[in-house]
């Protein structure tokens, strides 16, 4: 572009300015200026209380969020070693970003290490919960165990995926340095943990708890994305229902059966069974009429309508005494003859987060991710699939070696967006369904920021937390970018 004469660019200036002006003024007032203001706020004691002036406090807001405080007399040695571990972790991560991580990540040795760690975490969690064993659900009562258990499962999945790569080798790549640094840091955190927590405590323990909550609520994402891919694969081709004159009678028959079921059901007094059967036949009729579009519509509706109305709906579904979820569970338990009492979901510390997680799966499984995968699937060149079919590839091999690599950019995009959304999310559920409770167990970071703003009226602190959150998001995106890029190269 630089070879173009500069004059032509300048000649367009007035017109461009006129076209851009309305948007740009709004952008300045409500995006650019607020960003700067927010940055300024984070370094001030800034309150919404009237008659109190903002005062500059330097880094105090940030040290209050992230820092630690000595319990009795400070043990500077422990603290220094711990900070060294933090520095090693940061250096390792940066090194991992800059060096050729691809090779380190790709080796089976790395995968096996991750597998071992995951298995240790799962066994540790199960063993730890067995100590205070009080019943079938005892395992769930311990918050920390839940986290370790799911973290371990996640590590196991990642490890198996890496070990299972066919092109990977059992060797140590050049990227081992950063990996070792990270491992050392983790070992340091592990072994220093005891003395560290005996001598120091986090200044804002709630921040870390809410950060853990946020991460916990994000754990449904991998499953939801996998589910979205599965649904997209199911929806990818039209059902071979034939032309109109074949479909119309089918639709009519199904609609007739639907009507019959409902009429019979109501006539015989089995409303529920009649309605269920009728609805299923109705779906079948719609499927005959509109083919795959029917299912895409139904799958997409949860995310499309997700908002306060849907959260309120789920709050009612989860109601302990009269909600249909527990009614169904009780009926199920009675039917098998188990003397179990279903949990009270949103009102119970151990079950509130999993309950919200399940709702998130329901919302996200058929949502935008599925649509993006559908678009990507339709762009997979048919020649490639045909060629692999000629070469005698099985269905799984065709998916693994033809379709999946073609989907890599979409998977990467979805991962980045999901991580960004997940770290910022959780406000609406917390506000509408549980108000962050019980005992703060469903408070995500976004709800914490809201509380800091409107309960404590401490805008400066809220701004500081939001910048820390931004830093987390930035690191997560950068990691995704680096690893995702490698995936694309494969």
């Amino acid at each position: 572009m630089s070879e173009r004469p500069a004059r032509r660019w300048d000649a367009n200036w007035p017109a461009a300015a006129v076209f851009l002006a309305p948007n740009f003024i709004g952008f300045l007032c409500f995006t650019l200026f607020p960003v700067l203001l927010s940055f300024a706020m984070a370094f001030h004691y800034w309150t919404l209380r009237p008659h109190e002036k903002a005062s500059f406090v330097g880094l105090r807001n940030f040290t209050d969020v992230l820092g630690v405080r000595a319990l009795d007399e400070p043990h500077y040695g422990v603290l220094a070693l711990y900070m060294l571990c933090v520095a090693a972790l940061i250096a390792g991560l940066i090194g991992a970003l800059l060096s050729n991580v691809h090779q380190w990540r790709g080796t089976r040795t790395g995968g096996a290490l991750i597998c071992l760690t995951g298995a240790a975490m799962v066994f540790g969690a199960l063993g730890g919960s067995a100590e205070h064993h009080t019943g079938v659900f005892a395992f769930w009562f311990n918050q920390g165990t839940q986290g370790i258990f799911f973290g371990g499962i996640l590590a196991l999945i990642c490890g198996v995926a890496i070990v299972g790569r066919e092109d990977a080798e059992w060797d140590f790549g050049i990227g081992l340095g950063p990996g070792l640094l990270i491992a050392l840091a983790v070992f340091g955190f592990w072994s220093l943990g005891g003395p560290m927590w005996a001598a120091y405590e986090p200044r804002d323990a709630r921040f870390w708890y809410y950060f853990y909550n946020t991460l916990f609520l994000m754990m449904g994402l991998p499953l939801a994305v996998t589910g979205a891919l599965g649904l997209a694969l199911l929806l990818n081709h039209d059902l071979p229902l034939g032309p109109w004159r074949h479909r119309a009678p089918g639709a009519l028959v199904c609609a007739g059966l639907a009507l019959l079921c409902i009429v019979l059901g109501f006539g015989l007094g089995w409303e529920n069974i009649g309605l269920f059967a009728g609805l299923i036949w109705l779906f079948a009729a719609l499927g005959f009429l509109f083919n795959i579009v029917t299912f895409r519509t139904i799958f997409y509706l949860p995310q499309f309508t997700s908002g306060v109305a849907v959260y309120i709906l789920w709050k009612s579904l989860y109601r302990p005494e009269t909600g249909p979820v527990n009614m169904g569970l009780e009926a199920g338990f009675n039917a098998i003859g188990l003397a179990l009492v279903p949990p009270s979901w949103l009102a119970e510390i151990a079950w509130a987060k999993p309950a919200i997680l399940v709702m998130g799966m329901w919302i996200f499984i058929g949502g935008q991710n599925m649509l993006l995968y559908l678009a990507a699937l339709s762009n997979v060149p048919q020649e490639l699939l045909d060629a692999s079919l000629v070469d005698g590839a099985s269905r799984w091999q065709r998916f693994r070696h033809v379709t999946w690599p073609q989907l890599a950019p979409t998977t990467f995009f979805i991962t980045v967006v999901s991580v960004i959304g997940g770290l910022q999310g959780g406000f609406e559920q917390a506000r509408v369904m549980t108000q962050g409770g019980p005992a703060g167990s469903t408070t995500a970071l976004s709800y914490y920021i809201y509380n800091k703003m409107f309960q404590d009226l401490d805008m400066g602190y809220a701004a500081a937390i939001s910048w820390v959150l931004f830093a987390f998001i930035f690191v997560a995106t950068a990691l995704n970018w680096r690893f995702g890029r490698d995936q694309e190269v494969d």
């Binding site: 660019w9 200036w13 017109a15 461009a16 076209f19 851009l20 309305p22 948007n23 709004g26 952008f27 607020p34 960003v35 203001l37 927010s38 706020m41 649904l231 059902l239 071979p240 074949h246 409303e271 529920n272 269920f276 609805l279 779906f283 299912f295 895409r296 519509t297 139904i298 799958f299 509706l301 499309f304 908002g307 306060v308 109305a309 309120i312 709906l313 009612s316 579904l317 109601r319 009269t322 249909p324 009614m327 329901w362 935008q368 649509l371 993006l372 678009a375 995009f413 967006v417 406000f427 506000r431 509408v432 976004s446 809201y450 703003m453 809220a462 701004a463 939001s466 959150l469 931004f470």
Partner: protein, 287 residues
């Protein structure tokens, strides 16, 4: 007649899709069913979907036209007003946002000027900043401007979006350059090129952006929640929260309200699904 289900994999797909769709639709079906139940039936529990006896009066009760059957008093709620607010705010936002985004997208996609790429990069960079980080200072700005508890406080800040500009720019880049060059040769001004050539060609993109914006604004919760405490300005989501905190025990009323809130979205989606799906796929894949 040859039956369509002549192979096993099609049958399996059909059944799997049907079952999954049914499971995903269940909560909605329960919601509609519960909105027609009586208070007593809800409290009695049970897994009934169909009400034993249909109570359509939950809906008029919500709009304050009938007294509430259990306590016999009229609800102190402005549900109709909230419905209007929601539609009005979302509509105004959509109109302004599509307009400003289209103008800016034209400047970014079809005009060449010094510094264009740097300005666009600035737009892109701010898209990375979490909405929450912007909400805090924006609220302070609203306090300074005295916009709390007003319609314009809800409409103006939400009317400029980097995302809309980005989406339309991507769309306009796909229009062949020859189109506007031909218009310039015929003596059209830049404005005429914009209104008569580019806008009609970008119509699918405009419609997609309009729908996405409308739906997003209709569901918007955080911003109205912090900006408003006067009930008469509430949009539906905030109103629903208010309803839930006042009459939370009356599940049938809440479900009726949720049904009313969700219905316009379902209708919109069924009508415009082609545009919406394309818009989402476009905004996503090229992002």
């Amino acid at each position: 007649m040859k039956l369509p289900f002549d192979n096993t994999s099609t049958r399996i797909r059909f059944v799997a899709l049907g079952l999954l769709g049914f499971m995903l639709a269940m909560p909605f079906i329960w919601m509609v069913g519960a909105s027609f139940k009586s208070r007593a039936e809800i409290e009695a529990g049970g897994i009934h979907i169909v009400p034993e006896e249909a109570h359509a009066e939950n809906y008029p009760v919500l709009f304050g036209q009938q007294p509430e059957p259990v306590t016999g008093e009229k609800l102190e709620l402005k549900f109709g007003r909230w419905f209007f607010n929601s539609i009005f705010i979302a509509f105004a936002n959509t109109l302004i946002q599509v307009l400003t985004s289209a103008l800016a997208a034209f400047a970014f996609a079809r005009l060449e000027w010094r510094g264009r790429d740097s300005v666009f990069l600035l737009y892109l960079a701010t898209m990375m900043i979490p909405g929450l980080t912007l909400m805090i200072p924006n609220f302070q700005v609203m306090v300074w401007l005295g916009f709390l508890n007003t319609y314009h406080g809800l409409i103006i800040p939400a009317s400029f979006s980097a995302f809309g500009t980005f989406l339309l720019r991507q769309f306009m880049l796909g229009i062949p350059k020859a189109m506007d060059e031909a218009a310039y040769i015929d003596g059209a001004s830049k404005w005429q090129t914009f209104t008569d050539v580019i806008l009609p060609l970008a119509r699918p993109g405009l419609i997609a952006l309009a729908l996405i914006t409308f739906i997003f604004q209709y569901q918007q919760f955080f911003w109205p929640l912090i900006m408003l405490n006067d009930q008469q300005f509430f949009p539906l989501p905030v109103g629903l929260l208010e309803l839930d905190s006042t009459y939370g025990q009356q599940t049938e009323l809440i479900m009726a309200a949720a049904t009313i809130t969700v219905t316009p979205l379902v209708v919109l989606f069924v009508i415009f699904q082609k545009f919406l799906v394309r818009g989402i796929q476009l905004g996503g894949v090229k992002g």
